[in-house]
């Protein structure tokens, strides 16, 4: 299929439904294997009420080196197809709908993941990715379904990442993704079971969020990822800065040339000679082309996500710390 024929289509799915069993097995697999990252295909079907229902989730056999690394790999695609075939023989009428990806905060925004998702969205307008953020592992569950926005996919199809294109498509690093609400589909039998489970004893592990994590390494991990992202951002920014310097240098030359030409023309007209072309500079000088803003956007978005998670962590820590300190004051 020619890439030209691929056009952004407005997705019709307004929510994602997940079977509770599929959800739990996903959460178990990703959290058990933390800090290894995992991804895998989601199988389900689209219903008539604008929801994509996911009933089966399988992890790829091997952990990911980085986020999005396995999504379009050959072995992953083969595994995915084998599972789909096997599900079909079991009479499950399911189709491939998207992927899940476990990640640490904003690190999931890699060009591989975005590329895979964009391609998938061009094939199936309702494709999405389920991101399990592990930055609060053991404390709280952070799972969201995201897909690329119209603004992003349109720019992606055009394939140029100049500032001008970003502006015409109203795309910034803040609106690369849009979130889709998740609902849980419970079978009646599961509901019966859940209703009987209200009095289960709680283990102290579940209150881990209440521990003052002064020597916890999670914040450190977030900070590490953040500084890594900032490094990549700066690397990209250096290229851009170089372009801007070159641009202003060339621009200055052009201005000087124009100035000279004008003076020359002035003298020539005085002497009654024919004026020279003032637009000749276009063939003499060449303004540098603006480098792609693609990586810059992805890094910015990742940094923004990481920063948000960090701020949230800090807020929690301060709340806990002040609560304990308040107790001292009372004593």
């Amino acid at each position: 299929m020619a890439s030209k024929s691929k056009q952004y289509q407005e997705p019709t799915a307004t929510s994602i439904g997940i079977d509770s069993g599929a959800l739990l097995s996903l959460v178990r697999h990703t959290s058990e294997n933390y800090p290894s990252l995992y991804s895998g295909p989601l199988f389900g079907f689209e219903d008539d009420n604008g929801s994509v229902d996911i009933s089966h989730i399988y992890p790829y056999p091997y952990p990911d080196q980085y986020e999005g690394g396995s999504l379009r790999s050959r072995s992953g695609a083969k595994y995915q197809q084998e599972i789909l075939d096997s599900l079909k023989t079991l009479d499950y009428g399911v189709e491939f709908q998207g992927w899940f990806q476990s990640t640490l905060s904003g690190s999931f925004i890699t060009s591989q993941l975005v590329e895979s998702l964009a391609q998938q969205q061009l094939t199936n307008k309702n494709a999405f990715i389920l991101v399990h953020n592990m930055s609060s592992i053991g404390k709280e569950l952070d799972l969201k379904a995201v897909r690329l926005t119209r603004n992003f996919v349109t720019t992606y199809v055009e394939g140029k990442w100049k500032s001008k294109d970003l502006e015409t498509n109203r795309l910034s690093y803040l609106n690369i993704f849009e979130e889709i609400p998740i609902t849980i589909n419970n079978q009646a039998l599961v509901n019966l079971y859940l209703a009987s489970e209200t009095d289960t004893p709680k283990s102290t592990n579940e209150f881990d969020i209440l521990n003052l994590s002064s020597n916890h390494n999670l914040t450190a991990k977030l900070l590490e990822s953040l500084s890594g992202q900032i490094d990549s951002y700066n690397f990209d920014q250096t290229n851009f800065n170089y372009y801007q310097r070159m641009y202003s240098k060339e621009n200055l030359k052009i201005l000087q040339w124009k100035q000279n030409r004008r003076l020359e023309n002035l003298e020539r007209s005085k002497a009654g000679q024919k004026e020279l072309d003032t637009n000749e500079w276009q063939s003499l000088f060449k303004l540098p082309a603006e480098p792609s803003r693609y990586n810059n956007m992805l890094h910015s978005s990742a940094i923004d996500n990481l920063a948000d998670d960090l701020l949230k962590k800090c807020n929690e820590e301060l709340t806990k710390s002040f609560a304990i300190e308040g107790k001292f004051a009372n004593e």
């Binding site: 069993g21 404390k139 690093y173 209150f207 820590e317 001292f328």
Partner: protein
């Protein structure tokens, strides 16, 4: 749902019938996730109430073969006609091998079904799972039954029972009689074994808790905690702790010196109090540490905010600079 007491019988093994196998008691742990998977499979497949639904149980087995941890399950189609039953051998094999790729340490533990009583077919299915490759062999297979219908065929809260099956009687050898191979089905005796439903990782438990809670309150489930100022989870947890402290204090008010449990509780509390670190008594020192810690956190917060603003500033400045260039050209 889990039995607190159970009788343990020494039973013969599968591979060497007649000789007693392990002497330790068996114990099955069922992950809540696996249980919900089973219920989902059952709920989706039960078209007619007479149809038998079976599937394979997957998970870990302890080294001595007495502990089982059921972690997942998948459906296996089967066709029951009268006394015979046809199990989709190939589908079982394919599903298992695909699962095995992503979970290399797990193996087939046995199977699950939904019948009300153990009948002839139970033995036939158990025989399928007890021998051959890609099944429980050479370990004994377990059988998990989910009963969700009462005598009047009304749907009830699902009840789990687990059994371990072992061969009795003469071993069927599959001798040839003329051209026909006599079917080699062993006879089995099923011993009930205790089971308990448990959760794997903490995150999984948290997910399950929120599923339960959302079901009780009929609220839509959300798992996104990405909002910077959303501390609802923290708040919820604190409230739970406060509630249980209140409960404890209330209980201590009506303390009964003659009650053994109460004495035990008191002992635990005193032990906890006396084992607190010495540094907790030095208030000034503590305050200093807290002050330093708070400052660290605030510093991180401040720097993070600066980074965030910088990124936004850079994006805006670039956009403005580039659009000005376009104007000039």
């Amino acid at each position: 749902m889990s039995a607190t007491t159970s009788m343990h019988l020494v039973r013969p093994g599968v591979s060497a019938p007649g000789a007693s196998s392990t002497t330790t008691a068996c114990n099955v742990k069922i992950h809540a996730t696996a249980f919900i998977r089973i219920l989902e499979i059952v709920a989706k497949q039960s078209i007619s109430k007479d149809k038998r639904i079976i599937g394979t149980l997957l998970g870990y087995r302890s080294d001595d073969g007495s502990g089982f941890e059921v972690r997942d399950a998948f459906m296996v189609p089967c066709d029951e006609t009268g006394d015979s039953i046809a199990i989709a051998d190939h589908e079982h094999k394919v599903s298992y091998q695909l699962y095995k790729k992503a979970h290399p340490k797990e193996s087939v533990l046995g199977w699950f079904g939904t019948s009300k009583q153990i009948d002839n077919s139970t033995g036939l299915i158990h025989d399928f799972y007890s021998k051959g490759s890609d099944r429980a062999f050479p370990y004994p297979a377990i059988y998990l039954n989910v009963n969700y219908r009462d005598e009047n065929d009304q749907v009830i809260n699902p009840q789990v029972s687990t059994y371990i099956g072992s061969t009795v009687g003469k071993v069927a050898t599959g001798q040839k009689v003329g051209w026909k191979t006599q079917s080699s089905v062993n006879s089995y005796v099923f011993h009930p074994i205790p089971n308990q439903i448990m959760s794997g990782t903490t995150t999984e438990k948290l997910a399950l808790d929120s599923l339960v809670e959302n079901h009780i309150n009929q609220t839509p489930t959300t798992f996104s905690g990405n909002e910077v100022n959303d501390l609802s989870n923290l708040k919820k947890q604190i409230n739970i702790v406060v509630a249980s402290i209140d409960k404890l204090a209330q209980h201590l008010d009506s303390f009964d010196i003659n009650n053994d449990n109460d004495l035990q509780l008191l002992r635990t509390l005193t032990n906890n109090l006396s084992s607190r670190p010495q540094s907790l008594f030095n208030l000034d020192e503590l305050k200093k540490h807290f002050g330093a810690y708070n400052q660290d956190v605030i510093m991180i917060e401040y720097l993070t905010k600066v980074v965030k603003e910088q990124i936004e500033l850079s994006a805006r400045l670039t956009a403005t600079a580039e659009s000005e260039k376009k104007d000039r050209e």
